[in-house]
Amino acid sequence: MKTLIRTLAAVLGLCMAAGPTLAQIDRPAEIKLGMSTFMTGSAAVLGAPAKVAADMWIEDFNARGGVDGVKLKQTWIDEGQGADKFLTEYRRLAQEPGEKVMVSAISSGYCGALAPVAEDLKVINILWECSSEKVLEGKNYRYVFKTDPNGTMEMVAAVLHLLKVKPDFKTLAVVNQDYAWGRDSWDLFRDALLALKPDVKIVAEMFPKFGAPDFSAEVTRLQALKPDVVLSTAWGGDLDTFLRQASQRGLLKTAQFVLPLADSSLERLGDAVPPGVIVGFVGDGYFADPEFADDPKVRDFVKKFKDKTGFYPDFGVYHMVQALEAITLAYDKTLKANAGAWPTTDQLAATFRTLEYRGLSRPIRMREDGQAMQGQLYGVTLKHSDYPFPQVGELMFYPAELVSPPVGGISADWVKTLKPEILQSQRIQRVGK
């Protein structure tokens, strides 16, 4: 039995080694994209628009000729069907023969599970939306890349912005979703905050479960404790429900809310969100960013997206577009470097490692460890006569290098070493008026 398994393993190994050599010669008929998003459940309010954007973008791209004539073909996996079914589907698509790139996932929990699988199967996986920094840190993957920012950048920038907007507050409470992102983001935020302002008192840490339908107990508790600041890195339907219930009971007016992922909820909630709430964009993609008010590519896309869905693009859409731009740019670059010969997976991976690309906002640089360096935009809500929902003003841009640990560093340790001088950094820019 052992010999049998050993022989089988050897044969398999030979086949896999031979695979790439064979692929070098043939040009594929199409590039398969194994994409995942939340299509069901409360997270679908973020996942579904991203899917629409992707389908739209790919259709356009294929119409313009694709990658040197080779078109993209996407297959979607629903992240809402539970981890077991998701992983089975993911594995099945990743093991299909042919040229393919996996573009997955939104849930930080799933990303943690699928990264080793992709690395194992030697398939390039683009982490297009999940934020948790733990997926890549300390891992040295060759085939897994993150084209959007990670939690460290988002949370450190959030702390910096809070300290700039409201430097004197005494108490803070957190209401995060109970899964990898909610827990990891809170650890980062808390350690960064305590490093920069040690006298803060944390009065409550609440972690309702992911997809919780009701937050009334949390809202009551917050009203009883009366913290100065309330942080929530919740997103999607959960954030919608939480904000709606908090707003109905007046909580949004009595505490300073910090909502790094509220960008996608503002349009749906409208007047439920009062002015003065600190909002982030998980990067710097904002459809009303004054810096891109005259950029034709951006305006074009925003208009197309709004016409198609009736909504403005949110951070999920921006991340999807920048992921697709990165992938196609990498292919083009590698093809040119190869003088027209179709790239192997390893050549493509090497290109990704030093890629500089752009989505619909500022240019992004991929770092050697597979993490994209995308700066963070933060602002404060205000009422705008042109829109039925709050806009975000007093925008500040925090460059990625300022709010990230060095290559190889572990975020959990790095955030504890932050010094208050970072608040005066000249690299923090004001955007717009």
Partner: protein
Amino acid sequence: MNLDLLLLAAVDGLSYASLLFMIALGLTLICGVFGVINVAHGSFYAFGGYSAATVLAWLMPDDASVPLLVCALLCTAILVGGALGALLERGIMRRFQDRDPVLQLLVTFAVFMILENLQRMIWGSTPVNAGGLVGRMGTIELLGVTFMKYQLLLVPGIALASFFGLQCLLRYSITGRKLLAVIHHREVATALGIDAARMGLMTFALGGALGAVGGALSVPMTTFVPGVAADMVVTSFAVIATAGLGQITGALVASILIGQARALAVYTLPELEVVMPYLMMVLVLLIRPSGLFSVAEARRI
């Protein structure tokens, strides 16, 4: 843990307990009459909630008055739940009448799967909610904390009304007396000339309506997604098992117990909030194997 927080926890627990009671009531009624636990009850809840949300979404923009909205909510739920319950009994349960209770339970499980699929086909997977109604009803302040009138007054109010209404029905009306007879012993009741089949149909319709009303009352407060039925039905199992199958007053007590335990947990041990209903159920069943309010049953040899 000062007294204020304790009182706030109690108030929070009240609305959750009321919802739990409405759903458990229908379930325990069906269990009492048929001796079978209806897993499809979760679907009554879901269908009630989804239909109510659809009707409210249709009425809200027309600036309808609050009493009208509440009436529409309740009527939709009663109609949808009643019809679904009656259909279930007549169409399916009747054919499995003489089978093992476990098989009957599996039949309701199969129906649950079918209805869950149907629900997803009709309303999709985007979250559905009818929060506008809650906002319209305004707020009320208690102990320095703002509560929604909907959650504090309407929901417990309807739950209590249902409880007393049902008790009156069962004790003072002929139909109610007949129902009690069938619950007590189906065979003897039939022998006395009571149409047990019709009673069965009525029970399912009533149980369905109650479950649906529970759903309709929930949808303005919480968001409905596929999967909400499964969560709610297993929690109501915990309630009726704690109470004793077929016990109505027991269901009220158990709901309050579990609702309060959960609310208290949010304030003291938030990590245990979701475990509370099942922990209580296990503890009660270990001490009193048939539930808190169960009646002694003669053992057959």
